[in-house]
């Protein structure tokens, strides 16, 4: 990979391609090569990609069976009814 090649892509463009890249959605081999050439060359962009990866991993560590802070909940009376239904089914 040549340095010249990596410079054909601007950093401001690369940061908008990160998700497509991580998703494996860049299907044009030439485009993919351009991105990888840029990352070989550019530390800040490599850090940016790494931080997106870290962000995904950290979001993935949020507990799946606990509500997010401030999430909009079903109204209390509906949740009460559901709990009643759960109890009733258990009692059968």
């Amino acid at each position: 990979m040549s340095t010249e090649r990596g410079l054909q892509l601007r950093c401001e463009e690369l940061v908008e391609l990160v998700t497509d890249y991580l998703e494996g959605a860049i299907t044009d081999p030439d485009r993919l090569d351009l991105i990888e050439a840029h990352l070989q060359l550019c530390d800040p962009c490599s850090i940016y990609v790494e931080q997106m990866r870290q962000t995904i991993a950290m979001i993935g560590q949020l507990p799946k069976t606990q509500a997010l802070a401030q999430a909009e909940q079903l109204p209390e009376p509906i949740r009460e009814q559901l709990l009643d239904a759960f109890r009733a089914e258990s009692a059968r």
Binding site: C11, Q51, E72
Partner: protein, 268 residues
């Protein structure tokens, strides 16, 4: 570009363009490991992610066991955890918020009735959301809302995800559109994602995700919190794969920016 210029580029004291000489392992966020994701050379499943997926599976198994044992606390916990995103998914198919609440309520009633016979061949999450989708679609047909909202209409869904002032202007004589020295992302210190999330960061993440614009939050929560793959998310939300990626990108970029503010303000 000449070789001399290339050398000058690498030498410039304030320049960030250095030959890093290392490869970046990509991650496959689809835990289902779709064939297309693996088609791109260099993509590997990092150990951290599959460990996380395994931990998630174990947690889900534990939750299912508690539900089957008719543990009320477990049911209540799950209703609180999943109803917000279920309402958002349902809302895509029906006309009103009230109607979406009824769909979610009906879905939970279906879960209660089905628990005894649910054998766990699919994941709990897939099963619950399948029940939800069936009810939401039926209700949507009745309300003549057959196609879910799928347009990328919001102001939040267009434009750049990184502050443009962090890049050199178009008329920069050397590197237009590349990071300015002050704009370069700084490392966050040692492997912030490893281990258990600190309470403070967990709260920051949780609040930031919840504050995302609706469509972005829906995609980020389904993909990155609950681990649905992109095909599943497209069908749950009625979006195209392209739109799904745009929403995911914008949502994740905002969360990254919040983490950046946290880590850069408070040295680790």
């Amino acid at each position: 570009m000449t070789a001399a210029l290339v050398v000058a580029l690498a030498k410039g004291p304030s320049d960030h363009l250095v030959a890093a000489g290392r490869r970046y392992d990509l991650i496959v966020t689809d835990r289902a490991r779709k064939p297309y994701s693996c088609a791109v050379q260099g993509i590997t499943d990092p150990p951290g992610l599959s460990a996380q997926a395994e931990a998630d599976d174990a947690a889900e198994q534990a939750m299912l066991a508690r539900l089957k044992a008719r543990d009320e606390g477990a049911f209540n916990e799950l209703v609180r955890a999943w109803s917000p995103i279920m309402m958002r998914v349902a809302r895509g198919f029906v006309s009103t918020d009230a109607s979406a609440q009824e769909v979610v309520q009906e879905a939970w009633l279906g879960v209660i009735r089905g628990l005894g016979t649910f054998e766990g061949r699919s994941s709990l999450r897939t099963w619950v959301f399948r029940i939800l989708m069936n009810i939401a679609k039926t209700r949507g047909v009745k309300e003549h809302r057959i196609t879910p909202l799928s347009s990328l209409a919001g102001d939040d869904d267009v434009g750049r995800t990184v502050d443009p002032s962090r890049f050199r202007p178009d008329d920069d004589p050397r590197y237009p559109g590349n990071w300015t020295p002050a704009g370069c992302p700084q490392r966050w210190g040692d492997d912030p994602e490893s281990g258990v999330l600190r309470g403070e960061i967990r709260t920051l993440l949780s609040v930031t995700v919840e504050a995302l614009p609706d469509r972005q939050r829906e995609v980020v929560v389904l993909r990155d919190v609950h681990g649905f793959d992109s095909d599943e998310v497209c069908s749950l939300l009625g979006v195209t794969p392209e739109n799904q990626r745009v929403l995911l990108h914008r949502g994740r970029a905002k969360v990254r920016a919040a983490l950046e503010q946290y880590y850069v303000k408070e040295p680790v």
